[in-house]
């Protein structure tokens, strides 16, 4: 259909994008496997003359990183789970009903995206502290779920908009209640959308630093971004170990995102983003 000249241009441009996207990740990995004595002397070499996995061993055996990692998995998984359920319910209401105050609710959801979150750190701390929800993973899950629900609602709404209304109307004609129709007919069709929302929220919760730092000061309730920051603020910064910890922390989220990104595209295609 197109001439060969175009395809050279097409693949050439894509190659540039791939290099731009992957080079920083490659460099992160390269630093993590460079032995300490070569870190500066071979700093700008594309690959060190010797490689070692000592940094990884140190991080896994002699630091609290496994604990931080476990905390991050717990917090991100639960946040993704609850955000997606709440957002699915809210998105369904937005997609299928017209009701009083709908426009106001949309406006409120937008306002939540407008202000620097720094502004509400202190009030949230004062709200959660008496409830025993600071220095607790539960507190983080609650806060992260609230932060991620507004965008997730819009996302889920767009997935529901892509599913014809006639499907559940037919089921309701046959005597099913709306809720039954939702569970049995609509839910299976929304699975890609649910996967996309789960992935989106998981990624966001996995990366969050500010509130993890401010609400939880104890090591026992720290997530991995806080732990990573600890590598920086220690007396001497151990870059090799920090990068190794970074690579380890990237693995689950990258694997996760690698597989769900196409559902994100698919689901948004079906839905309301087109206007």
């Amino acid at each position: 259909m197109r001439n060969p000249g175009y395809w050279i241009f097409h693949y050439g441009l894509l190659a540039l994008f791939v290099v731009f996207a992957l080079f920083p990740l490659f460099w992160l990995f390269k630093v993590s496997i460079t032995p300490n004595d070569l870190l500066y002397s071979e700093g700008v070499r594309i690959w060190p003359s010797r490689m070692s996995f000592d940094h990884y061993g140190a991080v896994l055996r002699h630091s609290d990183f496994p604990l931080f990692f476990r905390n991050s998995v717990i917090v991100s998984t639960l946040t993704a789970f609850f955000s997606t359920i709440f957002a699915a319910a809210g998105g369904y209401a937005f997609s299928r009903f017209t009701f009083g105050g709908k426009l106001w609710i949309v406006g409120l959801l937008l306002v939540t995206q407008m202000f620097p979150l720094v502004m509400i750190v202190a009030p949230i701390f004062r709200l959660l502290a008496p409830l025993g929800l600071t220095n607790s993973l539960t507190g983080l899950v609650i806060v992260y779920t609230a932060f991620n629900v507004p965008f997730a609602v819009f996302l889920m709404q767009s997935f529901f908009d892509g599913i014809p209304k006639e499907l559940e109307e037919a089921a309701m004609m046959d005597g099913a209640s709306r809720f039954q129709a939702l569970l049995q007919i609509i839910f299976p069709l929304t699975l890609p959308g649910i996967a996309a929302t789960l992935g989106f929220v998981f990624t966001a919760a996995w990366s969050e630093l500010l509130f993890a730092l401010m609400l939880n000061s104890s090591t026992a309730a720290s997530t991995f971004p806080v732990g990573l920051l600890a590598f920086v603020s220690k007396f001497s910064v151990d870059f090799g170990q920090m990068m190794a910890a970074g690579v380890l922390a990237l693995i689950p989220v990258c694997v996760f995102f690698f597989f769900i990104q196409r559902y994100l595209v698919q689901g948004l295609t079906a839905g309301a983003v087109k206007g």
Binding site: A21, G90, M119, V143
Partner: protein, 310 residues
């Protein structure tokens, strides 16, 4: 249909109950999300806004009085604020423009069938999954001439005379966090725009091709109008998020050298967590909220006119 059944129903108390349940249904679905947002975001937002009118410095027991609009007067006279506001405008506009341009290019490339598309798409979207402070640390490392390759690349390209650290140059330091931010944010634009591209019916293009419209003409008269609403909403969200995101700047430059990379979000962060002046930080945040709301309303108005035209 359900409402039809109801009006035919002869038992009034029962029907009334069902009617209430039906009316309440959408609110019930929304309730968990709204309750959480109200409790964790809106109430703290209102409390936070009230701090803007108080002299509130953490760990200072003498503070806490209501001082009216004093903070806003101080902001007006604060040279750092105006500097940060200017930097915020540069930072936000450049980041959004580059992410948008490159994201759109990438989406257009990925929108055509070719060998290896699935794999390439997964690879180029990966940066989105990297925690932003980690990417900040990594980019700061790569910009450092002792341990990073980028200064030599810039020198080879003729952008620099000697391999220096861009982050320590007051004139160009802002480009460090900008590059990191663009790297991280291209996937978001590419994902949403690719989704919008794929929702354009293919037969429209075929019909236009039969009518003899060239590639540029098809892009201008079909692709752009179809993408416009998505573009507006994506640009709106990203602008607000980028304007509000302080972490790359805090991690990479701390706002320096000589405040040349200090944006409003990082200035607020500094006021709150280094000087512990939550009152002043909240007043700054309130100003920012108003500016962003005004911007959002303007953009929504533009979007409505665009939609009305088609």
């Amino acid at each position: 249909m359900t409402t039809l059944d109801l009006s035919a129903s002869p038992a009034p108390p029962h029907a009334l109950l069902r009617r209430i349940v039906l009316k309440a249904e959408p609110y019930l679905y929304c309730f968990p999300a709204l309750f959480l947002i109200a409790a964790i975001m809106l109430v703290p937002l209102i409390v936070g806004l009230s701090y803007a009118f108080r002299d509130l410095v953490l760990l200072d027991p003498a503070s806490g009085d209501y001082i009216g609009l004093t903070h806003f007067g101080e902001i007006w006279a604060d040279a750092n604020f105006w500097n940060a506001l200017q930097n915020t405008a540069i930072w936000t506009i450049v980041c959004v423009a580059l992410q948008f341009g490159l994201g759109l290019t990438l989406a257009l490339l990925l929108n055509q069938p070719f060998r290896g598309r699935g794999l390439i798409q997964a690879l180029v979207f990966l940066p989105w999954a990297v925690p932003s402070f980690l990417s900040g640390l990594n980019w700061a490392w790569m910009f450092n001439p002792v341990i990073g390759p980028l200064p030599y690349v810039f020198q080879a390209l003729g952008l620099m005379q000697t391999p220096d650290n861009i982050l320590s140059s007051p004139d160009h330091a802002i480009w460090g966090p900008i590059i990191a931010m663009v790297w991280w944010g291209i996937p978001f634009f590419a994902i949403t725009l690719l989704a919008a591209l794929q929702s354009i019916p293919k037969d429209i293009y075929e019909a236009a091709a039969i009518d003899g419209a060239g590639a540029v003409e098809r892009f201008r008269s079909i692709t752009l109008p179809f993408l416009a609403p998505t573009m507006a909403i994506t640009v709106l969200l990203r602008t607000v998020w980028i304007a509000n995101s302080a972490d790359l700047i805090v991690v990479m430059t701390h706002g320096g050298p000589a405040d040349s990379t200090q944006i409003l979000a990082s200035y607020i962060f500094t006021q709150a967590f280094q000087r512990l002046d939550f009152g002043y930080a909240s007043a700054l945040a309130a100003v920012m909220l108003v500016l962003l709301l005004a911007y959002a309303m303007a953009l929504v108005a533009v979007r409505q006119t665009l939609l009305a035209r088609h």
